[in-house]
């Protein structure tokens, strides 16, 4: 008996240390200089907590636990080694796995305990299972859209919001019945199936440009469902880890929504797709000025200060390594080159930073929107690669524009603006960008990777 008590205390101590390591892990992530230490702290905490759990006296069957741990590792290793361009869909997929784990545990706990479940316990269990199921299918849908297995364009239909709200209300209704009558075991599957459908319906109307916000929200839900599971299992470690993940996802969602000047409800209950479809309807052909790679290289070489604004188009064209070559060529000439990163550029928070860091561009050259906006009036050339809406000046001036009020990178304040773009076709959002018709703007038509490659050839050719 004393031995048993000793083991229980030991397990609790490993959990306590693991919790401290998790908090330190996130604290050290605050800057690139200490971030690796943060990852090690997280790993150490995780190993400790799992080792502690394996000592649990109630565990009688180690065989399946061992097989599952090995199988999870076998699946996890390739998921950890995907290409950097596939990180958004990998992240969405991992939210789905996390939610799956939580939902399965919640389901098992219900059938072990029913019908003898106290109202509060049933309430958190319902929260766990509902959030878990909707995050599972929602994240799978997001991953499918990001991997382009599913169509990226928003799919909308009449009465969509009504259907979604009705589904959610139905799931909550079932939960309420179960809280009052936990003996109605037959109702439980409905509390899983309805949110599973809701998760699909929730993500169907969301387009690629909204993915950063949606991934952050799903991250938050995954965290909250894990915290709810902590309440069910009375595990402080899990409550804390879930609360940390939940608040992280929440903060990121807030940052993303602010960067688009939209509210959560606006992202989730859409309208973006519809408004834009309308805006794309009226289009007039205005004259634009275009330039060749030689001309572009000449203008860049004559500049003192260049700001590059990358967007999702750079990721699609896999142009980041060519951009790095251009960065090198310009820096060698003594030109000051920095990057202006909009918070929602790309498909998830921080997407552009990771791609540029992978291409070996020093992180102190990657500036946030506010920093770079202070520099732009003194900038000779602003070069936009595969970004569109985040540079659209009508967000500042045109109250009728669907993106009015969204903070943008003020590229139009630079002396010359160059835009690498495949064609004049309206971008994802379908909103016309008046930037392209300015006298100071040069359109560089072509594939981002090829065009930047040509600029690099011109720049290095001029050197000899």
């Amino acid at each position: 008996m004393t031995n048993l008590m000793g083991t229980e205390t030991l397990i609790e101590v490993t959990y306590l240390i693991a919790t401290a390591l998790f908090v330190l892990s996130l604290k050290w992530l605050s800057s690139p200089a200490t971030a690796r230490r943060g990852v090690f702290a997280g790993e150490a905490g995780m190993v400790l907590a799992i080792a502690g759990t394996l000592l649990h006296h109630g565990i009688v069957d180690y065989k399946w636990v061992a097989i599952a741990l090995v199988l999870g590792t076998v699946i996890g290793v390739p998921l950890g080694n995907v290409a950097m361009t596939a990180v958004p869909q990998r992240t969405a997929l991992s939210h789905a796995f996390g939610a799956l784990c939580v939902t399965l545990v919640g389901t098992a706990e219900f059938y072990l305990r029913a019908p003898d479940i106290a109202p509060f316990m049933m309430a958190v269990l319902s929260l766990e299972v509902i959030l878990g199921s909707l995050t599972f299918t929602g994240s799978l849908m997001a991953a499918g859209k990001l991997q382009e297995i599913l169509p990226q364009r928003p799919i909308t239909y009449k009465g969509q919001n009504f259907v979604n709200l009705a589904l959610l209300a139905l799931a909550v209704g079932v939960a309420v019945i179960l809280v009052i009558h936990p003996e109605q075991i037959r109702l439980f599957p409905a509390m899983i199936i309805i949110p599973l459908i809701f998760g699909v319906m929730l993500v169907i109307p969301i387009g690629g440009a909204d993915m950063p916000t949606v991934i952050s929200l799903l991250n938050s839900y995954a965290g909250l469902s894990a915290a709810a599971m902590g309440f069910v299992l009375n595990s402080k470690l899990l409550i804390i880890a879930g609360a940390l993940d939940g608040s992280s996802g929440f903060i990121l969602s807030v940052i993303m929504s602010k960067a688009m000047n939209r509210s959560f409800t606006n992202v989730l209950f859409g309208g973006f797709g519809q408004i834009q479809a309308g805006a794309a309807g009226v289009k007039e052909a205005l004259p634009v000025r275009s330039a060749t790679p030689e001309e572009a290289a000449g203008i860049l070489a004559a500049a003192n200060k260049v700001v590059i604004v990358p967007g999702y188009g750079m990721a699609v064209a896999q142009a980041q390594h060519k951009v790095r070559e251009m960065y090198d060529a310009l820096t060698k000439k003594g030109i000051d080159v920095t990057f202006g990163i909009h918070p929602v550029a790309g498909r998830m928070p921080g997407h552009m930073n990771v791609l540029l860091a992978e291409a070996d561009i020093p992180y102190d050259k990657l500036l946030e929107m506010d920093q770079v906006n202070g520099d732009l009036p003194q900038t000779d050339v602003a070069l936009i690669i595969g970004a569109n809406d985040v540079t659209n000046p009508s967000a500042r001036t045109d109250t009728g524009s669907p993106i009015y009020g969204m903070p943008i990178i003020d590229v139009d304040k630079a002396r010359t603006v160059m835009v690498i773009k495949r064609s004049m076709a309206a971008g994802f959002a379908g909103i016309d960008n008046p930037l392209y018709y300015l006298d100071k703007t040069l359109m560089l038509f072509g594939d981002a990777k090829n065009f930047v490659g040509s600029i690099v050839r011109e720049l290095s050719g001029g050197e000899h």
Partner: protein, 98 residues
């Protein structure tokens, strides 16, 4: 039981506050690694799944627990690997050894 619950609520509230304060300070440079790291940490849910599968109180619980372990472990392993890969890529232009 009731006391446990109240304590748990306190723990949740305090952890959420700490989460806000700590994560607010994470540089936007690292928002992608932040998401993959919190995802890996969140997979600590594996602890609950291990107990479920290991205790084998019912066949259903053992089966669901085993699948849950696989899902969570793949998040732990994959999450830490990719976070570390991403963070290793961030280099400063100032040649400073630390």
């Amino acid at each position: 039981m009731k006391l446990d619950l109240i304590t748990s609520l306190y723990v949740f509230m305090l952890a959420a506050f700490i989460g806000f304060e700590v994560i607010r300070r994470v540089s936007p440079l690292l928002h992608t690694p932040l998401m993959s790291l919190t995802n890996a940490l969140d997979a600590i849910a594996v602890v609950g799944a291990i107990i479920l599968a290991g205790e084998h109180k019912s066949n259903l619980a053992a089966i669901l627990g085993t699948i849950a372990i696989v899902a969570a472990t793949s998040n732990i392993v994959g999450g830490f690997i990719i976070t570390d890969r991403m963070i290793k890529m961030f280099k400063s232009s100032r040649p400073k050894k630390s």
